[in-house]
């Protein structure tokens, strides 16, 4: 997926995650900044999940700023996918 612009999805609400996406030039790789209120318990899990789902979405060069307020995995998944698709200019059909 080709990212075109900065985009975001999610909120700062408890049990949600705010994900901001910024396209980077080809070859730059992934720069993920994760803040989480459950860093100690789930930080590694969340990072792994983000990488796994970026793989699935075919996104290699991207800056992700994620601010997590204890979102469940499926919430994280939905927010990431939405932010990426917004960045790629894909509109909901």
């Amino acid at each position: 997926m080709i990212l075109k612009e900065k985009a975001q999805a999610g909120t700062f609400e408890s049990s949600d995650i705010l994900i901001m996406v910024e396209p980077l030039e080809a070859g730059a790789g992934r720069k993920i900044e994760l803040k989480s209120i459950v860093m100690q318990q789930y930080g590694d899990d969340i990072l792994q999940q983000l990488h796994r789902e970026l793989d699935a979405l075919g996104v290699q060069d991207v800056r992700i700023i994620a601010n997590d307020k204890g979102a469940l995995a499926l919430t994280i998944s939905a927010r990431l996918e939405t932010a990426i698709k917004r960045s790629a200019g894909i509109k909901a059909s």
């Binding site: 459950v38 318990q41 789930y42 204890g70 979102a71």
Partner: protein, 518 residues
């Protein structure tokens, strides 16, 4: 050595002596006496017409023999509005007093400012029912040389009677007091209601200082604290922030999750045989647990059930039920809002009780022993029904034992209400980080995902199932929760023990270990 829950307990702690492992909730009680002797309270004397009045809190402290290694006690009836504890500790620190043991009935976020005095050796030990905020974090990180001791409200009274806590100086804030030290919390600009936790301090401390912002003409009525126990009296401008001490009335939560849990809990209570004419009842002031009272109140009216007494931490909601005639009386060890103070002052059936009468296991019958139903909260519950109300998900001390284990031990029906997970953190899980209340004293755990009944109560499970309630095994619920949240990484701890959790009978039920700095 291992205690009855299989938790490793040290045999001895330097400076504290030998420890006794937890043996079971009623193991020590069933003998009918306790082996520990009661220490004598101090004998005191005053010359006729001698004045007890001191100009400032500092003057009173100077007269009260401040010395290194002393134990200083406070009550926590001013909650997060308390302005006296921090002030007193500052004065002691300025006097250069070191190695103080702080024995407050509990500690709140208002006490964060004493943290520097934990770091500089002014305070080296703490006995308290609860610790929160920056203090709780620092303690979990190992700021104190000695482990803190977490006791229950009833356990604290026993600790004082047996001399585990020997109070040198008790500084007791009151919202009204006279020149002899008769004092109350039930009226005055900073009224906070019952002084239940302070009674034992007044009887046993070598020196007792009453501090008030409202000196009234002799005699102060009602004398919750009585003059024959009081050494000195100080009038100060303020004992704290009245808006944080007690404000307005307590409202029922609007959180749909808490209301759902409360609705289920109320149905479970109504389906049990404990909901009957003349039942006694206690609920916490927290979200879901207070909301249970709302549904019980409705059911009592509908089914024309009249209760006996309400106990405990009292909210305006309890007062409303008393005034409606749903209960005969309230026994009040601690009042939670402003409306409660006026009821305590004006209604003869709203009775102030000391913490020993409330919950001390070692007397001829505390009031928690007479409870039919109690509704309690939890930070964590495990599949053996053990409850943690003291340590948070990152290992910091951030809660209070309070009357949790006291009421759970006494009540016929102990109901714990909690969400099955909060944010992403599992609440119902295989093992809690710290046990405060043993599972054998918990009968039902009610969550938004169903009701778990302790296997020790098969007849209760049957009643709830017959009532069509969603009963499920707690192991099944814990697995269900883990599927939703994912498996959380365990808190990493050092070997060093930074806290001991005392069960109400004085045995050690769990330890709190220093959290690993990441």
């Amino acid at each position: 050595m291992k205690n009855a829950l299989g938790i490793e307990i040290p045999e001895y702690i330097e400076g504290m002596g030998a420890l006794e492992p937890y043996k079971g909730a009623w193991e020590k009680l069933q003998k009918g006496w306790m082996d520990e002797t009661t220490v004598p309270p101090p004998n005191k004397a005053k010359m006729p017409h001698a004045s007890k009045m001191c100009e400032t809190l500092k003057d009173a402290i100077l007269k009260a023999d401040p010395h290194d290694g002393m134990t200083v006690s406070f009550h926590h009836h001013l909650r997060s509005g308390d302005g006296i504890l921090v002030e007193a500790i500052k004065i002691l620190a300025e006097l250069g007093i070191k190695d103080i043991t702080l024995a407050s009935s509990s500690l709140t976020s208002a006490h964060d400012p004493i943290l520097p005095y934990l770091k500089d050796g002014t305070i080296t030990g703490i006995w308290s029912s609860g610790i929160r905020g920056e203090l709780g974090k620092a303690i979990a990180e190992g700021v104190l040389p000695k482990p803190v001791v977490i006791h229950s409200h009833g356990g604290r009274v026993r600790d004082v009677h047996t001399g585990r806590i020997r109070i040198d100086l008790a500084i007791l804030a009151a919202s009204a007091a006279d020149c002899e030290g008769n004092a109350t919390g039930s009226h005055g600009p900073s009224a906070f209601g019952s002084m239940g936790y302070a009674a034992i301090d007044s009887w046993y401390a070598k020196q007792v200082v009453v501090v008030t912002d409202n000196l009234v003409d002799y005699p102060c009525v009602p004398p919750s604290i009585r003059q024959n126990y009081v050494d000195y009296v100080v009038k100060v401008d303020s004992i704290g922030d009245p808006t944080k001490i007690a404000s307005g009335t307590t409202r029922i939560t609007k959180s749909p999750m808490d209301l759902q849990i409360a609705r289920l809990a109320a149905k479970a209570i109504i389906a049990s045989d404990s909901f009957k004419q003349g039942f006694s009842f206690q609920v916490g002031a927290g979200g879901a647990s207070l909301a249970v009272a709302k549904f019980i109140r409705e059911a009592m009216k509908e089914k024309e059930v009249k209760g006996s007494f309400l106990l405990g931490g009292v909210t305006s909601y309890c007062v409303d039920m008393l005034n409606e005639g749903l209960f005969n009386s309230i026994f009040d060890v601690q009042s939670f809002d402003a409306a409660v103070s006026s009821s305590l002052l004006n209604n003869a059936y709203h009775i102030e009780i000391p913490a020993g009468l409330y919950a001390n296991p070692f007397n001829c019958g505390c009031m928690t022993n007479k409870l039919d139903i109690v509704v309690l909260g939890a930070l964590e519950v495990d599949t053996d029904f053990n409850v943690n109300v003291i340590t948070g998900s990152e290992g910091a001390v951030r809660g209070a034992s309070g009357g949790h284990s006291d009421t759970a031990s006494g009540a016929n029906l102990t109901v714990v209400v909690c969400p099955s997970f909060r944010g992403r953190i599992p609440i119902v899980k295989k093992q809690v980080h710290t046990v405060v209340t043993p599972g054998e004293t918990i009968d039902v755990v009610v969550t938004e995902r169903g009701i778990c009944v302790n296997p020790r109560r098969p007849e209760l499970r049957k009643s709830l199932e017959e009532a069509g309630l969603p009963v499920k095994d707690i192991e099944v619920l814990a697995e269900e929760v883990e599927k939703i949240t994912g498996k959380s990484k365990d808190i990493e701890c050092e070997d060093r023990i930074v806290g001991l959790v005392e069960y109400r009978d004085g045995t050690i039920i769990d330890v709190i270990r220093q959290v690993k700095q990441l």
